[in-house]
Subunit: 378 residues, 2 copies
């Protein structure tokens, strides 16, 4: 099966989008069929766009199994804006919030939030170089916290929570930027979920915020509009001009999930297959492909590993690129290799990468048995 | 000359983009030629995207005649976010700022800014129903203001400043959302200029912020990253994942302005032609097409007018739509008719609309001379 360059994109984000969504956006750039205009020239105040937002809200609730009262917002500013908006909304009267520090991105969340409020560390994986996630027993959680915050999937280190941590009597807030819509979950146990789009949901430039009604009602309503969840919700994400193109793209992704994939249980199966086939190579050849994450906490979105040394890693990346794979370099903060296998990536792409990894290892071993440090193994 | 639906789009915003830019974005949706990937799957940390931002910054400085020290940022959140960021950055120690209230959008700017700081009204056009702009003598400006703020073009009322108001000894800040890049100007007299993209610059989802270095250095650096101009500038608009597609689109628009149009003096000529040909119809038939703005303050971006009554306005809009024109309805706050003639709209489109307006009037007059209130004039 011959896959296109877009289909062999293992980038950590912005990630690959489904081929059928790209084709529809390709068409929409010149003409959205129902409207007769380029998607870039359609008013955000049009009937058509109101329907786009309405259907998108419904699709999200349907896919995630959320009640009709749940608010679904499309905002700007990325997860980074949410990092700050949470304490700006919830900690301004001196309250404190509990945060898990499980890797690079939760570190960023804490760094930004500390500028606007007081935090308590529920757990930190720093001493373990963020190689694992905490057990429930290790978490220091206060019943008086204004909220409890964690990141469900750490893209840099390749760690993913496979359970719902936290107390049910404290608002649970989760940054699901890199795994929302990748599998079913107990989404009703969250006061708020947020996720930028550019992993599983759509292009960079829009951020999904999902708020439980009772939690929403506890938030202040006197903040400026751009950081006011009430204002954004009341306006159905059209408080001011929203990123029309990005929101339309997200709608198409939810339609794809619903109609072509058949919902979250099915995409979860496909994501599991992709993860299994790559982790199998790591397990079969642990001497050569060294997985970064503790086995129990392995991410189904980001398979992060090292090779015996940096030179071999460079050779691997070069050979992979020649073979048509892209985006396999690890995050700039830790290097190594990262295969991001978000929703848009097909199983065949992961299988091809697994085959490539097997072949690369064999060639390397064969070369190093006859000559030392030959560049020919690439 | 047969124009496409996109070329006859007179929407108030998001507005029509140039045909050649749409064609390049149509291609980029599947494959950016230099990269080999969809624009939606390219990492914002790639060399290629760093070049996109670099060239865009340079193109803006070149087009506007700004020194190399000027900072050019691409941010999220629209002009609305800037409405709040200004007082959050500049008025937090109790200072006051001067604002002109010249129409709907400056009213919004004032409404948002008041939530975060203290403002003084330099002038309000409310008593005149925002039908004109102030003279210099009418402006109440304080030399102690932290800054002076105005909106260069009011899209709803069709009013545009054709001079630079304000004092040179107070930082001058202008929202040029609807006329930046539409004509040359004394841009060095501004401490800061901002503009969302979706009129003349690109698609909705990105906002240009242009800061003079000395003003930039006077801003606080301890705010959260998403509202911190220093953090955004130091990172060259990649503090966190930016709206890659929207920024690339803006780059293409600046290339189009530079290479196809030949710079701001040339686009200004074209914009003047479009405005002239529509205002000529208003002036020739003032009994039928009633321009909203005082003649001296007429906008070259938004030609706003009424017809003798709301029924005729509805007939006009229906007939215009049948003739292939779109987006001609006035803003929801005031109704009437609005022809937005941003950069992307070709002169031929304005000429066709002017012809249509002549014809519509003749038919209406002919019909009403023989039968009263016949619907046949459409």
């Amino acid at each position: 099966m011959k896959l296109s360059a877009n289909q062999l994109n293992f980038s950590g984000g912005p990630g690959a989008l489904p081929e059928s969504v790209l084709q529809q956006l390709h068409t929409a750039m010149l003409c959205v069929p129902e409207v007769g205009l380029s998607i870039l020239g359609i008013s955000h105040r049009s009937e058509w766009f109101a329907q786009v937002v309405h259907e998108l809200e419904d699709n999200m609730r349907q896919l995630m199994g959320l009640p009709a009262s749940t608010r679904v917002l499309m905002m700007q500013g990325g997860a980074t804006q949410q990092f700050s908006m949470l304490p700006m909304n919830l900690l301004r009267n001196g309250q404190s919030a509990d945060y898990i520090h499980s890797g690079y991105w939760s570190g960023k969340a804490i760094h930004e939030a500390e500028k606007s409020g007081q935090l308590q560390l529920a757990w930190s994986g720093k001493a373990d170089q963020f190689g694992r996630l905490p057990s429930d027993a290790e978490l220091q959680l206060s019943k008086d916290a204004a909220y409890f915050h964690y990141i469900s999937n750490e893209t840099v280190e390749g760690l993913q929570f496979h359970r719902v941590p936290g107390r049910d009597d404290v608002p649970r807030i989760c940054d699901m930027s890199s795994d929302l819509l990748s599998a079913p979950g107990d989404f009703n146990r969250y006061a708020m979920i947020y996720a930028h789009a550019q992993k599983n949901i759509g292009p960079a430039g829009v951020t999904m915020v999902i708020l439980r009604d009772d939690f929403m009602n506890s938030l202040p309503d006197d903040l400026p509009g751009f950081i006011n969840y009430h204002a954004q919700a009341d306006a159905h994400s059209i408080y001011n001009t929203p990123p029309v193109f990005a929101i339309y793209s997200v709608l198409l992704v939810t339609r794809w999930l619903r109609d072509e994939i058949g919902g979250l249980p099915n995409i979860a199966k496909r994501n599991q297959q992709k993860a299994d086939c790559l982790y199998q190579v790591l397990d079969d050849h642990a001497d050569f492909y060294r997985g970064r994450a503790a086995v129990a906490d392995r991410s189904k979105m980001n398979v992060v590993f090292n090779l015996p040394n940096a030179e071999i890693e460079q050779a691997f990346l070069q050979a992979a690129q020649l073979a048509g794979f892209s985006g396999l370099n690890g995050h700039r903060s830790i290097g190594g290799i990262r295969a991001s296998i978000y929703n848009g990536l097909e199983s065949a792409a992961a299988e091809q990468l697994a085959d490539f990894m097997q072949t690369f290892r064999k060639r390397y071993k064969a070369t190093t048995q006859t000559t030392v440090r030959s560049p020919a193994y690439a």
